[in-house]
Point group: C2
Chain length 339, copies 2
DNA sequence: CTGAAAGCGCTAACAG
DNA sequence: CTGTTAGCGCTTTCAG
């Protein structure tokens, strides 16, 4: 096995080649430094010729910040997070920040990687719909890495957050279904512990209760396609079959549509209404035509990056951003009857 | 604005607290170093108490390698790359490597971010189905960062690569369609420049020609859903409508199914056969039941990480890995007739 | 405007 | 086994 001794060109090499001091080279590569125009060009030419590029690791060592943002993702089977990740990578990039991606299954407990990540002097840590355990929060505080929760919050104020308005969203959906004259409501829940699910569920059931709707049905879906598929089967096989199902996200709603249509031969949108949440791109496909409450991913991402930049300078700041969404009605739900 | 002066705990602080030298602290945190058991515990206690964590940036500065792998992704609308990205993040993590994600639209030309990335002393650069321009290849060579192309190759041997066997895959699909007694074949192509499309197209048309099938139709899809949708419309609206369409990937095949079923009322799998490539999870959904040639993502990812580890020690090595796939027949294509 | 010198936080010989 | 001593490649005073 060859020993890896790739010898890099350093500022010293360039300095010698250009006949200047090493600090002059440093200045030539520092935006607002004072270098004589001709010295600068001489240096840049030598650098170009030698193929020199400043070592950002060394720079970060001095500045104390890395310009790197850690991003923890759980399950990418939800297209909403894929969309978010894509937007986040672009937006961070434009802000001159790097995105260090790491797998953060479940609630982040016992993850070895995340603890490793924290050693990189991250400018911030973003958790995409991943829970922040109190242990992890403490680790981040110790490591002085500010945390931004995306699409989730915590009870304690352990971290800043960016979420959609789940209360308005779920109530809007409940109102939509009631207007469509549905009598037997069901809800397929997301992950039990998640703030997102807790809020959507409370708002949905809360609104129904206010309107005098009794005994809506509930099934656990855990935001997972397989679990939601099983939940949909139970719901549809029961003797008291619901005529409307609100799923806590689009992935589960699409799973429910698949079951209703292909296993029970139901005409979705006429015999049964199914509604999701997030309005992922797939929801608009004619194969699903899913009514959904849209979360503005780009706006949420922009807010996230804004928060990161604030927290870089002021790590102790706390901010909870709530953005508004909108209901997108499509064929999977029966609209209000004309009278 | 508060000045960000987060003062980190250094090995020096721990040394003083534990009454040892700074290098002793370093040893305590180095796996195979010689430290007396009780010294070690004393150090670890002090470290724990102070919340010390070694600065990996400083460590990388010395070792010359960062344990960071850059990963460039183009469009994440293709679920195959989402799946790959998820697997890659896990697999790299297990190998003790970090994943620096960056957006690499198009062919990587003129991208400012990638050039920035190269300053990080990356252990390797992985391009997920993103082209490697000769300019970029040169930049990477200069920066001494080995490149691994995933699901794509280049003509010149500018980088190592991991791809599926497109030749076998496309021929297998052609044979499958011929066995199903289809007479009028069509192909919806992926990105024109991509090696993946070139190989699949050549093998598909090549096999058909060998079997005496004349004048198969071709439409450009560019691996994009909108383009493929338009292509499917043209194909199905023409007077000489095909009875079989092979799409260069699953995303486009699903777009074609949507058009055939919802715009032309065709019974997919009986009146027309549609076949894709990749076998993404969605292909198995009853809504599509898409026949597809499966690429083993986990295996490809494993090979990619293996290559990275080889290249870390021997940057000049070149290897092209080709992995085998398998045809998964589902309802979207008519099977061979019984005779 | 420029060079010399002092580190950023850590690892790695080198003597004890 | 442990402390001392050099740096890794760069930024940043501080004098010229």
């Amino acid at each position: 096995m060859t020993t890896n001794d790739r010898s890099f060109i350093t500022a010293h090499d360039v300095a010698r080649a250009a006949g200047v001091s090493q600090s002059a080279v440093s200045r030539a590569f520092t935006p607002g430094a004072s270098v004589a125009p001709d010295t600068r060009t001489r240096i840049m030419e030598a650098a170009e010729r030698l193929g020199y590029r400043p070592n950002l690791l060394a720079r970060s060592l001095i500045s104390g910040r890395s310009s790197i943002v850690g991003v923890g993702v759980g399950d990418l089977s939800n297209p909403f997070f894929v969309e978010t990740l894509q937007l986040l990578s672009r937006t961070l990039d434009q802000a001159g920040l790097r995105l260090l991606l790491f797998p953060a299954e479940g609630s982040g407990r016992g993850e070895p990687s995340i603890n490793e990540i924290l050693h990189y002097r991250l400018d911030a840590l973003v958790l995409l719909s991943v829970g922040l355990s109190s242990g992890l929060a403490e680790e981040c505080r110790k490591a002085q890495v500010p945390v931004v929760l995306y699409n989730r919050t915590t009870q304690d104020h352990a971290a800043s957050s960016v979420i959609g308005d789940n209360d308005v969203g779920a109530r809007t959906i409940a109102a939509h279904l009631l207007a469509g004259d549905h009598r037997r409501m069901a809800f397929i829940a997301g992950a039990e512990g998640s703030s997102t699910n807790v809020q959507r569920e409370a708002a949905f059931f809360g609104y129904l209760a206010e309107q005098g709707v009794t005994a809506p049905i509930r099934a656990a879906g855990d935001y997972r396609i397989e679990i939601a598929t099983a939940a949909a089967r139970r719901l549809l096989a029961g003797r008291d079959r619901p005529d409307a199902i609100f799923c806590a996200n689009d992935s589960m709603a699409i799973a429910a549509i698949n079951v209703a249509r292909h296993e029970y031969g139901l005409d979705v949108g006429r015999e049964i209404s199914i509604v999701g949440y997030d309005d992922v791109p797939m929801a608009a496909w004619p194969a699903f035509s899913l009514t959904s409450y849209a979360q503005p991913a780009q706006h949420m991402v922009d807010q996230t990056v804004r928060l990161i930049q604030i927290l870089r300078d002021d790590p102790d700041r706390h901010e909870d951003v709530v953005v508004e969404g909108s209901l997108v009605v499509r064929g999977s739900s029966r609209a209000a009857r004309m009278r």
